[in-house]
């Protein structure tokens, strides 16, 4: 497959550069572009969040700086960058400086393996999915370092909380990511996106999304990704109205901005991973004819998932720590383990077309797909049932809490409010 850097390399060798130097320069340009996409993207994401949340809360939102307030986040960023950089006297210098750098580093690295269009992928690693999961470790380490090095017990406690939450939800997230990997038989993100085509009468509609085939795995991934990106309803790490800021309480100025950037980019990239694994990646109608359309589809889908997280942020209340942990360990982990087990059985059912020489699976049969879909429907049903029961109980509890004791059971719900 033609990769993105080959055109640039050809151009540079045409200018008379040696082959190695041309490759190095092309890769360096690619890395530079990717590293700068992150911060610029974050400006857009923050503005989008503020605008959409304001619309949901019946406010106008930022509208002063620039046309329609478009430059508001630029002004915010400049303000943060020009602030004084304060370091607590007893903070541990090395870890205190390294933590914000590492947090951004771990997030931006994931851009390198994103398959944004056919052939547009920084590195098509053969362990791409595993690479994305491994990057989470850097975020965890940076949170721990920030919490510890600030020399503040609240920051340290918040660091513990972050790590507990990230570790608990990383397990269902990673396992849910491996459900499509089992089907495709490859961890290459390019191959995973390519496998989600759906050819009908020789025309690639690009709608064979794994989200349709495996809705259960998608739901589990999405919930875990919300927790991983520290989004509502799992944003009790920062919980602006109740707690102090969390593990980055002692940070100010540019270092705080870096944590902020990392958090926004992380939640966006988790959505982009969901797009690559479950929502078809760059697949869509006419992608085979016009490859650039793939990039458009990818961006639209990724921003769609991001808007969904904003919608959830504007809608749901925060949940408690024990509820969060119980949901991860008692609901998501057993379900996703059962789902993977079922997937393995379903893919071994008869009906698949095998390669006569190697015995590899060329094409799964109807029976396999039906079995996978049925298993996912069961998981989807169980998860939504658990959630519905929870919401029903909560509704009952709040109603009890706000009614006078003597009237419980007597008072009928009034029609007025």
């Amino acid at each position: 497959m033609e990769i993105w850097s080959s055109g640039l390399t050809h151009l540079l060798t045409g200018l008379g550069l040696p082959e190695t130097a041309a490759v190095i320069i092309a890769l360096a340009i690619g890395a530079f572009v990717l590293a700068n996409v992150g911060p610029v993207l974050a400006l857009v994401l923050i503005l989008l969040l503020r605008k959409v949340i304001s619309r949901m809360q019946d406010r106008i939102g930022p509208n002063r700086v620039g046309p329609f307030g478009l430059l508001q986040t630029v002004a915010d960023a400049l303000k943060l960058l020009s602030k004084e950089d304060i370091r607590p006297a007893n903070a541990d210098a090395v870890a205190y400086f390294l933590a914000p750098i590492l947090s951004v580093f771990g997030v931006i690295l994931s851009l390198g393996v994103m398959a944004v269009a056919p052939g547009w992928i920084g590195v098509d690693l053969n362990v791409g999915v595993l690479f994305l999961t491994a990057l989470g470790s850097i975020g965890i380490m940076s949170a721990l370092m920030a919490g510890w090095s600030s020399n503040n017990k609240y920051a340290l406690l918040a660091g513990f909380r972050v790590v507990a939450q990230l570790l608990s939800y990383e397990i269902p997230m990673v396992l849910a990511m491996f459900v499509p990997v089992l089907l495709v038989g490859s961890m290459r993100l390019g191959a995973l996106s390519a496998a989600q085509s759906l050819t009908i009468f020789g025309f690639n509609t690009g709608l064979g999304w794994f989200g349709f085939l495996m809705p259960g795995a998608f739901l589990i991934y999405f919930i875990s990704a919300l927790a991983e990106g520290e989004q509502t309803p799992f944003d009790l790490l920062e919980a602006e109205s109740e707690l102090i800021a969390g593990f980055h309480i002692e940070y100010s100025g540019m270092k705080f901005a870096m944590f902020f950037l990392a958090q926004f980019l992380n939640s966006f990239f988790l959505g982009a991973i969901a797009v690559m694994l479950f929502l078809g990646g760059y697949q869509g109608p006419f992608v085979d004819q016009i490859p650039l359309l793939g990039f458009v589809y990818f961006v639209i889908k990724a921003f769609g998932v991001y808007l969904l997280t904003i919608w959830i942020k504007g809608t749901f209340p925060r949940i408690r720590v024990d509820q969060m942990m119980a949901f991860a360990w008692k609901v998501l982990v057993p379900l996703v383990l059962a789902l993977i087990l079922w997937q393995m059985i379903a893919l071994k059912l008869p009906g698949a077309t095998l390669d006569p020489v190697t015995g590899d699976v060329l094409q799964y049969g109807f029976l396999n797909y039906i079995a996978v879909f049925a298993g996912n429907l069961v998981v989807l049903g169980v998860v939504s049932n658990v959630l519905m029961n929870h919401f029903k109980r909560e509704k009952m509890r709040t109603k009890r809490a706000f009614e006078p004791k003597s009237l419980i059971g007597v008072m009928q719900p009034s029609s007025g409010d």
């Binding site: 190695t20 491994a134 470790s137 380490m141 020399n151």
Partner: protein
């Protein structure tokens, strides 16, 4: 002079792999030294993470991507988080300084002598083989 050049043949320009390997190996080695030399226990844990990262980088340089990623997943992610938690949750160890030395200097000297002797033997035998080959040539 000829013998030294034959023993350690250096190419005039390092290849790309060497150019990446040398800083990576230095990083790994310095981090590994910090693990034992740094007085602060938390710094030791961080240096251990750095060492494991460096080893993962060397795996990646050897084109063993799966091994590299597994190294990061298993060691950097799980085991070092466990170690860091254990250090942080043990009272009084977080901010205090630990002693850099213990009472094992004699053992260390014994070890250095033995390893040095083995290394010297290797060096001598390698040189004698080289002498033989030069003589044959």
């Amino acid at each position: 002079m000829d013998i030294i050049q034959q023993l350690f043949p250096l190419p005039p320009i390092p290849t790309l792999q060497q150019a990446v390997f040398i800083p990576l190996a230095l990083f790994t080695a310095v981090c590994a030294l910090l693990v034992v030399l740094s007085p602060n226990l938390f710094h030791n844990a961080l240096a251990l993470v750095g060492t494991l990262f460096g080893v993962a980088g060397i795996y990646a340089l050897l084109e063993a991507e799966f091994l590299a990623i597994s190294q990061i997943l298993v060691y950097v992610w799980s085991i070092s988080t466990l170690i860091t938690f254990a250090i942080m949750l043990s009272r009084g160890m977080m901010f205090g300084a630990t002693s850099k030395t213990n009472k094992q200097a004699g053992t260390a000297i014994d070890g250095i002598v033995v390893i040095g002797f083995i290394g010297w033997c290797n060096f001598v035998s390698a040189r004698s083989k080289l002498d033989v080959s030069i003589a044959v040539a």
